[in-house]
């Protein structure tokens, strides 16, 4: 499903944890819509629609919660 090799939830920093959360969310969209051309066509729709932008931020927040727990919150 994802082409990442050696995918790990452990990241050295909070920033990299945020980046991983976005990457995980995108990988699900990729798995549901594998056609890159369609995804490229849909991208401006997301990026200009306030509701979609907030919905994406919501998914990233959920993925980040998992990653943060995995990293003991980088305490």
């Amino acid at each position: 499903m994802t082409t990442a090799t050696d995918l790990s939830l452990i990241t050295p920093t909070v920033e990299e944890g945020r980046a991983l959360a976005i990457k995980l969310a995108r990988s699900t969209v990729k798995a549901t819509q594998p056609d890159a051309e369609v995804r490229v066509r849909l991208r401006p729709v997301y990026a200009e629609d306030p509701v979609a932008l907030v919905a994406i931020a919501h998914v990233v927040a959920v993925e980040f919660a998992t990653i943060a727990a995995a990293n003991h919150y980088w305490r």
Copy 2:
């Protein structure tokens, strides 16, 4: 409800955990709409609708949170 035998939340890798999260989300859709023909007809609707794509990514993120906890985050 699912036809999987010996379904387990434990996976050797993060990638397989992601794949399981997608599988679990799909199994609920299957249980709610058991008619495969209808599901096939609806598939392009999901795959071309930005809101639906993000909503699916949200469900997968929630299922993944459970699977990740089950696997002690593959630490």
Copy 3:
């Protein structure tokens, strides 16, 4: 609210945990709309609407997270 007797979150298998999650989600709909005829009339609306199908999958994922934790993830 539910008519189940001796309802328990503990299930022997993951599959039964998934089935319980669907049952719990349905029991809330039943409590909010107790008229069985109305529920039967609404059923095809859910089952043919991609957004509703994903929304149901989302609720089931949340219920399942609770059930999985209750069962120590069937580890």
Copy 4:
């Protein structure tokens, strides 16, 4: 906000935990829309709208997760 006295998250059974989850969700609606007449007028809208029914089930699932944890899942 709620008129309950001695509100507790601890319930003897899972069924009572479910009932409490519905009660908590309703108490928020009451706090946001304190006019009972308006709530009564809106009730059929919820109860006949598939999307609203699923949305209510979602809120109840989240409240129940908290109550279930409070009760150590009635293990």
Copy 5:
């Protein structure tokens, strides 16, 4: 962002935990829409829209989950 001084997640009772959850949810709306006049104008829209009422109940449920955990569920 909030003007509360000495904000704490610890509350003596479940009821006060519910009230705090509503207060936290409102403080985010305030931070996003700081103009009190606009908020007052929007209030009846929320309070008469079933979807908005359920959406608010959802946010409060999520805030309450955090507060309940902070208070060890007032066990």
Copy 6:
């Protein structure tokens, strides 16, 4: 993805935890829509739309749950 240096989930107070939750939610919107002009144009849409305001409050609640856990709820 975010330009913050030394981003940490640990905050001295609950208020700063709330502020961080809003900042994290905004950083995802920024990552999805990097064009500041577009974001400025969309801002009034969010701030006047009740559904969007509640949706933002939802994302902040999820981010805050993570931050609160990281800080042992500032107990």
